[in-house]
Symmetry: C2
Subunit: 346 residues, 2 copies
DNA sequence: TTGCCTATAGCAAACGTTTCCAGTTAAGAG
DNA sequence: CTCTTAACTGGAAACGTTTGCTATAGGCAA
């Protein structure tokens, strides 16, 4: 009968360890470790012998034990503000790709837009002893922030967030430039009643976009209407209800800017309700090139930024940090891309 | 001057360990461990004392050490075939949510549709000693498959894949039913030249959809045209080139089915090239309710399955497996949802 | 020949937990 | 009053690696 072959005296269920490799190769544990990890103090003969035995036994090093001993987990934590936003999928993907290329794995945790969850996520990553954390924070003024950004003894990269006084790298998009370009375009086309729906200004993108927005008006020496701004929520519900209100205003807005995925959803629903078509009765610009737009709505004007580049850059910054370099801020450019939806309305 | 306070005699850079908690509370290491892990053999007084000291010192257990000792990592590996498919984002998200709710973290690795990458990914997860693996395989006949599915000493859940003779759970969608419904609908509307573009049949969804497709013709006692099927690639390029060919056939197809994200992309581009509008000159059905369709293309008829439910179910199956239950297969229903795009063409 | 250096190998102590086992105390039973 | 038992507590050995230190051997210069 084909017995549960346990040649080496151990149960077949046990995974093979460095100890068994050492025994079979008749060398010391330390030699196996060195031979396999590429340590210089190993003779060619020893290395070959150990590698052969390791292959033969199908030895796969225990990363948990390696981590405990060496203090390095080769794992990066990615805290994402709200994974509902499809941009994050793209970003996380390119980031993971770059990290894996460098021998790191990524643990992705989602805060669902909630500060308490975010705090728990940071704690989890600290307990897991990740080598670095990439974070898209829910807000820049959470009470846990100091602890979470200063506490961990690992490099941190913030995505599109500005937190003063912490020693973290950051990837910031230059939203202001793109928005400035977009709004200037609208003003030149004769628009005056330009509405703007976006999330609250406790995060950098909102503030930065606002800067570009107001500066465009200033540069054109045109007075803007503060009551056309709905600054307060990134979710579709907020955008929907505020878009409804804005559309009932008189004079009605002739153009409308959507800050992010939720705003895009909400506004497009509100427009449909009132039977308004983007690019005809009203000009529309999305302040983010959301990935799904490429597919079916290739007529939507956007302020574009290269999301995959942001992910890659975040990965590079965290790797730099791990190698001991000083934190730094990396600026990503944005650009207004004119398509059909920003026509009309005038 | 505010010196680098090192009250406990250790460098401030060192993380606090169970040892320091034990010292400060003047109890044994083992008592601290038991008190914090909820072990029953601990007096109330001891538990309080330990917890107070732990809080005071800001002790955060080292999950790496816990894992090494206990053999449990509370980590699930998620091998995804190709994260380009936006459905996976949704699926992974709901899965991660369910896992985190149960105290598990998820490591997501992407195979980019490549068998070698997939093999490396499995190896990585084994070395990380994950407690379970959820996998969407590149193909069902990769040479590494036996090793990767039988090798790891942990439960496995396959997503929409059938691999005979391995002891794994699976979440399978009942594509056949939805496709049967969709094709029957088209046949009743008078369509005869129904084209079908999808990935190769070395994965279950293709084979299963094909079953539903042919059975619908059989049940209607109508002969189908095999030359209207393009079975071979999930990527947009494949779909584009084959859709072009199909559209030049004579008689031209009056309806076209897209199997998955890539097919949808490719076909819609081909239609645009020929200036054909879905629901007018040609009927169109997407064999997957892709998340972005809800947003702008709410007129696309689809065969729907609840992607988030699939993610949740995968999480539950893996947790079951960890608790020692036998692997099992869970079937998810699909359903034809008629919208405007499946009109016309006749 | 002697001494020193280099290259390599082995031993054993970590890393931070959990858990088995044995010991202590106090309470309850006889 | 003694014995048994229950309820805890402490000590120490794991878990599977890496790594500092020591030992050995051979080569080479003096």
């Amino acid at each position: 009968m084909p017995s549960e072959k346990s040649e080496n005296g151990r149960s077949v269920n046990q995974r093979v360890t460095i100890r068994e490799v050492a025994a079979k190769a008749e060398v010391a544990l330390s030699s196996v470790s060195r031979a396999l990890s590429g340590h210089p103090d190993v003779s060619d003969e020893m290395r070959k012998r150990v590698k052969d035995v390791a292959d033969e036994l199908g030895y796969e090093p225990n990363l948990v034990a390696q981590s405990l001993r060496s203090g390095v987990t080769r794992t990066i934590g990615f805290v994402v503000r709200d994974i509902n936003n499809p941009m994050f999928a793209l970003l996380a993907r390119s980031c993971e790709h770059e990290l894996r290329r460098n021998g790191y794995s990524m643990i992705l945790v989602n805060s669902d837009g909630n500060i308490e969850n975010e705090n728990r996520n940071f704690s989890l990553l600290r307990r897991r002893r990740v080598d670095g954390i990439i974070a898209s924070l829910v807000s820049e003024d959470s009470p846990y922030l100091r602890k979470n950004l200063a506490g961990p003894r690992c490099p941190i990269v913030l995505l599109d967030r500005e937190v003063k006084g912490v020693n973290a790298s950051a990837v910031l998009a230059d939203h202001a430039a793109g928005v400035h370009e977009a709004v200037t375009h609208l003003l030149k086309a004769g628009h005056r009643e330009i509405a703007f729906v976006t999330g609250s200004n406790n995060v950098y993108p909102t503030r930065n976009r606002l800067q570009g927005f107001t500066k465009a008006f200033e540069d054109a020496k045109i007075k803007m209407h503060p009551d056309l701004m709905a600054i307060g929520g990134f979710d579709a519900e907020y955008a929907l209800s505020h878009a409804r209100i804005l559309l009932h205003r008189s004079p009605a807005p002739t153009a409308i800017l959507a800050g992010g995925h939720g705003a895009l959803m909400g506004i497009s629903r509100a427009l449909k309700e009132k039977n308004l078509t983007m690019g005809k009765e009203i000009a529309f610009i999305a302040l983010d090139q959301l990935p799904y737009l490429e597919v079916f709505s290739d007529n939507i004007s956007t302020v574009y930024r290269d999301t995959e580049a942001i992910g890659r850059e975040a990965a590079r910054l965290i790797l730099e940090g791990i190698e001991g370099e000083k934190p730094r801020v990396s600026l990503i450019e944005t650009q207004f891309i004119e398509r059909a939806s920003s026509q009309g309305g005038i």
